[in-house]
């Protein structure tokens, strides 16, 4: 049984149909990538899973349980965590407070250990520990958003464009980290513009176009498919 299942999900923003009967499955332990052009509906899909945007019809199941249109905190409790598009850090809290809020649902005694893990993965955050999150540089905020999501120790991690605004070295590190956490048993659903590197690190992928899944396959197949190459990889 798949860990996350989307059955015929549709989402509207008023009169705009952002998602049109989408079916997606993510097995436990997998890394799955969503690719698609601007406005394909990738972020909307992630927000819908988290209950931030209402699902108009269809069903979303996590671990076999129907979670369609439940409160966001319920998703977080069941172990789905999103590192959102546009960072969404708490600007007037320090880096450390932001990270601690990431572990809001977790027992107190486990927190120091997680904090250490995040600090070792993203040493820049440790360096900036007491700084207000709002005054961090763009890339630093992105790291914080990722680190904060990790603090929740998710069963399933949703990442919306994690590489946005990060320096090349850090991007490599983030993807290494993705490899590492999937080893620890975390399932990951990824949205990436940087399709080449994302596909290299994932098992399967869905291609979204104007709110519908137009293609799905194993990541390495897609990486070599001419169609995908033409649509998403530049000629350089």
């Amino acid at each position: 049984m798949a860990l996350l299942e989307l059955e015929n999900v549709t989402v509207d923003y008023g009169s705009i149909h952002a998602i049109k009967t989408v079916n997606i499955e993510v097995e436990t332990g997998e890394v799955v990538t969503l690719i698609g052009a601007n406005g394909a509906g990738k972020s909307t899909l992630m927000k819908t899973v988290m209950g931030l945007v209402p699902c108009k019809s269809g069903k979303i199941k996590f671990n076999g349980i129907d979670i369609t249109n439940k409160d966001t905190q319920y998703m977080v409790q069941s172990g789905i965590i999103l590192s959102p598009e546009g960072r969404q850090v708490f600007p007037r809290y320090s880096v450390r407070d932001n990270l601690l809020l990431g572990a809001y649902q977790r027992p107190r005694q486990e927190i120091p250990e997680s904090l250490e893990t995040v600090y070792t993965l993203l040493p820049k955050l440790k360096e900036r520990n007491a700084q207000m999150a709002g005054s961090l540089s763009g890339g630093e905020q992105q790291m914080l958003a990722i680190g904060r999501a990790m603090m929740g120790k998710p069963r399933m991690l949703l990442m919306d464009e994690p590489s946005l605004g990060l320096a090349p070295l850090i991007i490599t590190e983030i993807f290494n980290m993705i490899d590492k956490i999937r080893m620890m048993g975390t399932t990951i659903l990824l949205v990436e513009q940087n399709a080449r590197i994302a596909l290299k690190h994932s098992d399967r992928a869905y291609v979204l176009e104007a709110g519908s899944v137009v293609l799905t396959d194993r990541a390495d197949c897609l990486l070599n498919s001419d169609e995908v190459r033409k649509a998403y990889f530049g000629g350089l």
Partner: protein
């Protein structure tokens, strides 16, 4: 070649943190210059100091020979610098088209004697609409011109920002991570657009983490690390500079 921008000994401190440490640089007419460096190196801060958003602790900025240090942002913009923001800052309750029209604030200014000419104001605004539509066509957003700016997908919002900055018709266009949030194809399109702008005679200073983009498009690069300039030169020179590889690019690149 005439100098558009020159920065001298720019230093910016935030409390105990030295975000910029004596950076000097210049941009000449018709160039595309890149600023690269690790996260938190001070690139955005440099832009902020140039455009008057921050008041630098030390150092000076000159635009086409005029010292503009300490000017207010709107004065600097009026004088010839246009910029985009790293975190998209669109006017959220305005349509895409109106966002771009706001960018024409300076060029639509009328003197008092012009203002009293009947219909002059209206014609100026009509012209502005027309020009804005032309600019949106460049970015393939013409169809979306009446949509609310913030309901666009992230990647498109960035394009609107660039379009808006372009509408300023600046002497120097400062772009902060223009390609972020775009996939490779879109990045290539953007690259073509930037080329086209250069053809039109625009001068551009940009920050970007997408190395393909930077290496392909820039005439010269400045590399910042920890607030200090660690290298400068042509993309070829910078790419092979061991200090830059160590601090920023990593072995693979």
């Amino acid at each position: 070649m005439s100098e558009i921008l020159s920065v001298h000994d720019m230093t910016q401190c935030f409390g105990g943190l030295n975000a910029l440490k004596g950076v000097s640089m210049h941009v000449d007419q018709g160039e595309i210059v890149g600023v690269i460096g690790p996260n938190g190196a001070g690139k955005t801060t440099l832009f902020n100091c140039i455009t008057g958003m921050y008041r630098p602790t030390k150092g000076s900025v000159r635009m086409v020979g005029t010292d503009i240090t300490g000017w207010r942002p709107y004065q600097i913009t009026a004088y010839g610098f246009g910029r985009t923001f790293q975190n998209v800052r669109l006017f959220s309750r305005m349509s895409v088209l109106d966002n771009v029209i706001v960018g024409m604030h300076i060029s639509t200014r009328l003197s008092f004697s012009q203002m009293i000419v009947v219909g002059k104001m209206r014609r100026t605004m009509d012209d502005a609409v027309h020009k804005a539509e032309e600019i949106l066509k460049i970015f393939g957003l013409y169809e979306n011109r009446y949509e609310m700016a913030t309901s666009l997908p992230y990647g498109d919002q960035r394009k609107v920002e660039i379009a808006r900055a372009l509408a300023l018709e600046p002497k120097l266009l400062l772009l902060d991570e223009p390609a972020a949030g775009m996939n490779e194809i879109e990045t290539e399109e953007l690259m073509n657009t930037v080329y086209a702008l250069r053809e039109r005679g625009n001068t551009i200073l940009l920050i970007e983490h997408d190395m393909k983009f930077v290496m392909n498009i820039c005439d010269r690069l400045y590399v910042l690390n920890d607030g200090a300039l660690i290298a400068e030169g042509s993309p070829g020179e910078v790419r092979t500079n061991p200090v830059v590889i160590e601090a920023y690019l990593g072995k693979e690149a």
